[in-house]
Amino acid sequence: MSIFRMAGLLCGVAIGSVVATSAFAQDDANAITIVTPYAFDNIDACNSSSEVGLVVRENVVEALTHLNPESGKPEPRLATSWEQVEPTVWRIKLREGVTYFDGSAFDAEAVSRSIERMFNPKLDCLNRGKLFANIRLTPKVVDSHTIDISTEKPQPLMPIFMSFLTIESPKTDFDAMTSTPVGTGPFAIPQRNAGDAIVLVRQDKYWGEAPAVSKATYVRRDESALRAAMVEVGEADIGLNIAIQDATNPETDPGYLNGETTRLRFSFEGPLADIRVRKAMNLAIDREALRDGLFNQDYAIATQMFLPRINGYNPDMKPWPYDPEQAKSLIDEAKKDGVDVGAEIPLISRINFYANGQETMEAMIAMWQMVGLNVKLQPMERAQWLKLVNKPYAEPRPAMLIQEQHDNNSGDATFTMHFRYHSTGQQSEFGDPELDRLIDAADAASGDERVKLFQQANAYSAENVVPDVMMFHMVNYMRISDRLEFKPDDVTSTMMELSQIKFRGTN
Amino acid sequence: MTGHLLEVENLSVRFHSRGKIVDAVRSVSWHLDRGETLAILGESGSGKSVSASAVMGLIDTPPGEILSGSIRFDGRGILGLSAKDQRELNGRRIAMIFQDTLAALNPVHTLGHQISESMTAHGIPAERARTRAIELLARVGIPEPERRFNEYPHQFSGGQRQRVMIAAAIAMEPDVLIADEPTSALDVTVQAGILKLLKELQAENGMGILMITHDLGVVAEIADRVVVMSQGEVVEQGPLAEVLGAPRHAYTRRLLEAVPGRHGYPAARDLSSEALIEIRGLSKYYGVSAGVLKTPTGREIKALDDVSLTLNKGEVLGVVGESGSGKTTLVNTLLGLVDPTKGEVLYRGKSMLGPGNREIARNVQVVFQDPTASLNPRMKVGRIIAEPWAIHRGVLPRAEWPRRVAELLEQVGLRPEHADRYPHQFSGGQRQRIAIARALALKPEVIICDEAVSALDVSIQAQVIQLLKDLRRDHGLSYLFIAHDLPVVRDFADRTIVMQGGRIVESGITAEIFEHPRHPYTQKLLASRPVEERMRGHITEPAE
């Protein structure tokens, strides 16, 4: 065979394949395309607490309850009502007349199986790891639409947890993850192979109100500029995670708190063991200048590690003032007492953590330099950074600052407080008996008492421990096509209900 | 207006190269008539090929520049023709063949294609061109022309390739055939065949042949008239007998003087019987491999087959053989570059082979054929000559090196200050002198001259041989003198060995071999070079 004939043959194959891939085309006025930076590798329902929730949560698989985005209070969804029948047992009434896309009926058995499946050790369920690592839920079917969920210890937060219990079809493989989850939601995922684009199609049998969107396709593009461009030229209707500089028009490019709060954590070592130094470091930062310079007004200066809608948020706390003079005098004081304030303090940052993260770190270092502190940036790749973040820490632990970001989407402060501020917390750097006491007490309490105790713990920590340099409640931007009507909120970063999307005008 | 077929008048060509301007030819004039053979004789750098290139329109401008002159073909001026008109002429009316056939034929096309192309390029239909090409192949003496039509240049021997080139050149029955050193790269026996073929073809179609060569033998064999060129100028021209018989210009005389084999045999000397090198039953077999990855085929080639010889002290032993005769393998084995399959090499009774015998090997040095290739281009001459002392520590203290290098340079006829220059700043003959100086550095008893003068122009050849003779006289050296050509050996070697196919076919006193060759191969070898005889016919008496 001559080389030319060979080339000809390959050309033919190439052209053929191009034509073949272009064969599908869709023309549905109510179909939308959503462009995201996420790979959505595994969209199994039991991963719905991660960004996978953007696709499946409430769209495909519904949870028992739904958190109100403003108040953070649980509202009925697949559960119609719930009550704490015993300290460790919650009884839940389920919605009747609901069926799955695959025809199976939604009932207590399905819920029980779904919970058991989440705890199946053969599956790497993110929901289990993230929310139920220390809480074993034991379901017990009462009748066809009533179920009891019991826990070992009293669990006042059960209604909030229930908003993460996405209940997939009982026909789902119990021992393997699926790339085609089937739920009771308004949308269904047609049969697909893992790796294909994710397409959601409106389900006519949905028990609730029919959404306006008939079909949603999720595509992935890594470059923010490209996502913005795709919406601009009409190739996509919603572009998620648009860079700040691309979010030029507040009408089409709304921002929303993404649930993440950023801070720098102190290791309580070397000069950082001295509270005056920690305070000085907070006083030396001009947070407003940072926000206006590197981010914008949508970003909120944080006083604590979670959003105001979370139980336990203390609204009375004030951000640190910018007072370099006082910072300097605190440092001088410490220096007189023999603290080595001239030591080089590494700032462990994470590469590609969040937009403008690197620049923020650089700007903060410059501010510390002005009060005479010597902080040095040490960027790390994720896996390397992780080694420093979690206990058990390597000994000796050096004096350092660690760049962190945390999202509490659950609605309750305990996820955050215990982990970071309790002496036994996996990411805690210190042990303060009073703070331990407050957190333990709050954990055991419920209702207003619980909220109050967490608020006290937060205030105490900020005043008497100063474990971190609080930064911002972070914002995401999305670009929305002008044919759509949609307003993102605090929870949009992990859950985007397609049923909330409306079309403008008649078409 | 003269009636010559091809006439070059007052041609001057200049080249811009290597950092300087070279006037390649100055005011060159010559002419060629139908049916005659004109030889342009000249050594390297004489500009002998330039006017031919100008005829063919092959001088690229730049780097070339034609300063003046005219070329007329068939009464028409052809210098500076348009590319299209030049193409009409090239191949159809004037054809050309070249020296290095492997390079001059396109390696990726079949030879048949390349012959046909000289016809299709001039409008002959492909089918007819093919038929004619096969006829031509047969005519120039390629067996099985039908089959070989589809073969590639590398599948032919050098002589066959030159025949194919000739076939392609005569395809359009041109009026003029320019042959640029057509036989220089070939073995003597093959050379004779090619010249014979050219003469036959000329007789058949009456074309004029322009033969460009450095080889007086070829001139004597084929030319009717001779143009002698030196340093870009024509120094003498005239009928063959006149130029060779009564050279008017001093350069021509020197050239004739330098031709080897004209001075009788070396005087029979009292040869010592003290054997320096003894070779006993030396054989070297190579397994034959084939394919891209050289897979062994199980066949064997006997590069050396049971060779025995002795080199005595003070003796010059000539070894003559054409390509494939095994002389190269013999040298490589002697130098320890190749391990023999069997047999032994003794130096004063001790084995020379094997790694432990470096000290013995010191006494045997070598001068290679190509002085350009055998000197490291990035080392200064002084370092090249001193390298043997750097390798054999203790022979000469470092402080002595410059003095000794200067001495050696003077011994080989160069100047001490040349030590500071690089090889490329010297001419070919000077480089060979440097190589000889390096060989002398360790005061060896034997020097192996591996075709040491073959690449040099005749006049230089004679000088280098004279140097070797002087060194033998002064230092009592012995030479193993390897050559592919008999005449060089004739007036230098005391004894001569003729090799063919890895075996010694004849050996004896040089005069004996030349006067009474016994082996048919030796006879053929001598017959292929009738030059000396023929020249003697032309040359009356060497002028004083």
Partner: protein
């Protein structure tokens, strides 16, 4: 020919095994996927459980032994991210990259051969100067930059091409462009210099002495000889395509092997990394054989040597 393939395969098998060993151990130096796959706040117990489930708690040699055993049964393991067989994922992504590279190489070669040959005809001439400068510029611009500027200019401003994604032939234009610009620049330079050599060679002189037309001299005689070094360089460029494809695939959302590889690397999805590296290596092995064949096609000396 058979022994050629046997030897070639042996060599490649050795390299491939070395590659497997190297990738297996070096990849594991870069950290534990447990940390990366699970959220930062995951409790220690959950991490340990996860590591145990996937065998990451075992000694490295045990893990490697298991991997080799599976490999012998042609089991490349499963992706940590979505549980699919690694080989399937790789084979699914591979054709896209192959096609992308094929077009990029084809266009590069065609442009390079035409431009390089014309430039070589009169070295130092106007065309040569301009072609050299453009090809150099092409070879000197970061390709992700070309990609993003391309989107802004052709999709956003001119609205002439789709921004990204697959589908119609239009979608292929920009990724292929991004991918071919550099090899094209490099190849043009190679074609040019090797054509200059070829045009100065004695056989071209012979052809001219025979009265052969310039076009035939360039394309019939010089080019085919000049192609030999071009084939070598083109082979190297083609082998490096996977690296270049990472950029094009990342920016344009092409589901190719480059993108798969970088994603897997970022997530320490070892099975997929290993499978992708192996498939790529095998492809390069096949490519090398194709280059040898092309050599043999172009040069009879190689065929008969």
């Amino acid at each position: 020919m058979r022994s050629y393939f046997r030897q070639r395969t042996m060599q490649s098998a050795i390299s491939l095994f070395g590659l497997v060993v190297l990738v297996f151990f070096l990849a594991r130096l870069t950290g534990n996927p447990t940390d990366l796959l699970l959220p930062v706040d995951t409790p220690l117990a959950v991490r340990e459980e996860f590591a145990a489930r996937h065998g990451f708690d075992q000694p490295m040699l045990v893990q490697f032994g298991r991997y080799l055993l599976d490999l012998l049964q042609f089991d490349f393991g499963e992706s940590l991210r979505d549980g699919r067989p690694a080989l399937q994922m790789v084979l699914q992504a591979f054709p896209t990259t192959l096609l992308l590279s094929f077009w990029a190489m084809l266009i590069s070669l065609v442009i390079a051969i035409v431009t390089g040959s014309i430039a070589a005809w009169r070295p130092g001439g106007v065309f040569d100067r301009i072609a050299s400068l453009i090809s150099l510029a092409g070879a000197s611009i970061p390709n992700f930059w070309i990609a993003i500027v391309g989107v802004l200019v052709f999709s956003v401003w001119l609205r002439a091409l789709p921004t990204s994604g697959t589908g119609t032939p239009w979608h292929w234009i920009m990724p292929v462009t991004v991918l071919f610009v550099r090899p094209c620049g490099v190849l043009t330079q190679v074609v040019r210099s090797s054509m200059i050599d070829a045009l100065a060679s004695p056989y071209v002189k012979t052809a001219r002495a025979r009265g052969v037309r310039s076009r035939v001299v360039i394309f019939g005689h010089a080019l085919r000889n000049a192609m030999l070094p071009v084939v070598t360089v083109a082979g190297d460029q083609a082998a490096g395509m996977v690296n270049g494809a990472v950029i094009a695939e990342t920016v344009f959302g092409f589901p190719g092997i480059g993108k798969l590889m970088i994603d897997s690397i970022m997530f320490r999805d070892f099975a997929v990394i290993q499978a992708a590296v192996m498939v790529t290596a095998v492809a390069i092995f096949v490519l090398n054989i194709l280059i040898d064949l092309a050599y043999a096609l172009l040069d009879p000396r190689v065929r008969h040597g």
